[in-house]
Amino acid sequence: MNPGLLISTAFGSVGANKLRAGLTLLGIVIGVSSVIAMMAVGRGAQISVTSRISELGTDLITVSPGAQALRFAFFGGGGNSDVLSLEDALSLKDDVFAPDVRLVAPENSFSGSAVVGSESTFVNGVGITAEYLEARNLSIASGRNITNADVENIALVAVLGSEVSETLFGQRNPVGATLKISSREFTVVGVLDSQEGTIFNPDNSILVPINTAHYRLNNGTGLFNSISLGSINVLASSEDTVDDARTDVSTVLRLRHELAADEDDDFLITTQQDTIETLEGTQGTFVILLGSIAGISLLVGGIGVMNIMLVSVTERTREIGIRRAVGAKRRDILFQFVAEAILMTFAGGILGVLAGWAIAYFGNGATVDGDIIETVIETHIAIIALGVSVAVGLFFGIYPAVRAASLNPIEALRHE
């Protein structure tokens, strides 16, 4: 039988029992559409995370204290905070030892309540130098940035995140007004542009000079250059020199910390690329998990196809006998039943792709528990899902088809 006849015969047989074919299809439709929808959600999340990180600029390198900061973090610490000093940060501005470092912005942190009149809010603040805004890709909405003169003078000045400004001052322009942070009076010199939607959202933050944070808010002591840092933000001279800059930073810090060749770093250097890779890895696992769950439903759909094909072979034993008696070869029967199985799964695959696409399309931008779901539909996923559905038909159709083809024509003809 030629392929065209095979397909039209398969259409005839499948179409003869529409309800049954429809229910069998449904299993595949659900499987394929959930693969498409799940992958769209997964990829959407992955891409949005990646793009948020990229907004920070891919030339950003973050140096944190502590060799294995992440491990320490589980025990409540933020790493050994004595390891990075302001002097470490300053030493990274070195044209000889660190030629690929363009900008260094040390930071430390504080927390406390910020009070204006009767309004108050708890804030996680950052102690910064003038370079911080550039390093973090932030901009001033009104007023001015913190200057290095403010840093030297341990000035009681603050730049507010947009949300903090709104909480404490409402619609008023806070520049020039005063507020109290941990009972010390600060003058507001500027307000940041809102960065809503980015991964390190500064909207609920207050920026003060790094020295002020250390001596006035954290009750720190010691010499200016020895104050300990939460981290150092370093910008590479360009996006292409991130790796060189990373090496520079490592070399300088190892020299300064007098580490022997066989000693591990006592600091952690993270590039944006590292962060993206880590998150993409996590998200990738998530996507695979979603895809696997969806794949299982496709498998279940395939078993449904096999089940119905086995029933069909039994019911149509006589038909098989007739076809064999008038000249059908074993392989004609084999191909016929495989074609029917593939027709069902392929049709299910197409409907599933359409349904999954529709779910992803209309689901884009929907909110679940306050999180906006973004979906990204990828053509290759649709093609793969369609291919897999055909493969499912082939895989689950083969066994019933072999059974059909191996029937003895005489016995098949006698079958009632």
Binding site: M1, L5, G12, I322, A325, V326, G327, K329, I410
Partner: protein, 250 residues
């Protein structure tokens, strides 16, 4: 009888067929030797279980003998592979069954087309033309698009005959073709087979319990216990036994 040198269509030499039933074996055919010439119309009679159906399955290339030689149109069937047997079924013979064995979902035309679909290389247009011609031959020009359920038993059996004819084989095998039919339909089918033999020169082998069918044949072979117990020609000296066929015959 046929003029000129007889051409054997079927040659069975010492053919046996055994079936294994549990621990003991049953000989459905026991050393059959039989020759059927081109243009003969042979009725095979005998009680149930005498081996008639096994013989038909063997002649129809649906079954292979356990021993002995079956030569069909000069070809030793015992040498053929499963695929070659399928091709032989589709090219060299037509089968008519007691229970018609039409595909219930398909129209008469589509049922008759079926053997052509499996023989390959024939265009859809040509297939349908051949199927229409075969249906015309059995007098069903008005029934192309009817499904089996919409037709009488006699019409269904004629569709089955058309299906057997569509590849234009020399040999038609009919297994109890009137077994499910009333007497009027039976008469139609008998007449059809007779006409195919007389007018179209088809070789016809028919297994039957029906004396009227047997009467229409030119030769009767009786079976009992897997063996031929009688093989005799029937003379139709006046052609008066079956009255209405006089005009068609000869």
């Amino acid at each position: 009888m046929t003029s000129g040198t007889p051409t054997p269509v079927i040659e069975l030499t010492n053919v046996s067929r055994e079936f294994q039933l549990g621990t003991h074996s049953v000989r459905a055919l026991d050393g059959i030797s039989l020759t059927i010439q081109l243009g003969e119309m042979v009725a095979i009679i005998g009680p149930s279980g005498s081996g008639k159906s096994t013989l038909m399955n063997t002649l129809g290339c649906l079954d292979q003998p356990s021993s002995g030689v079956f030569v069909l149109n000069g070809q030793n069937v015992s040498d053929l592979s499963d695929n070659q047997l399928a091709e032989t079924r589709s090219h060299q013979l037509g089968f008519v069954f007691q229970s018609y064995n039409l595909l219930p979902r398909e129209t008469a035309l589509s049922n008759v087309e079926l053997p052509l679909k499996y023989s390959g290389g024939i265009k859809g247009k040509d297939r349908r033309a051949a199927a229409r011609a075969a249906l015309d031959r059995v007098g069903l020009s008005e029934r192309y698009d009817h499904r089996p359920m919409q037709m009488s038993g006699g019409e269904q059996q004629r569709v089955a005959i058309a299906r057997a004819l569509v590849r234009n084989p020399e040999l038609i095998l009919a297994d109890e073709p009137t077994g499910n039919l009333d007497s009027k339909s039976s008469a139609e089918v008998i007449e059809m087979l007779r006409s195919l033999n007389e007018d179209d020169g088809k070789t016809i082998v028919v297994v039957t319990h029906d004396p009227e069918v047997a009467e229409a044949a030119k030769r009767i072979i009786a079976f009992r216990d897997g063996q031929i117990v009688e093989d005799r020609p029937i003379d139709h000296p006046t052609d008066s036994v079956t009255d209405e066929t006089n005009e068609n015959a000869e």
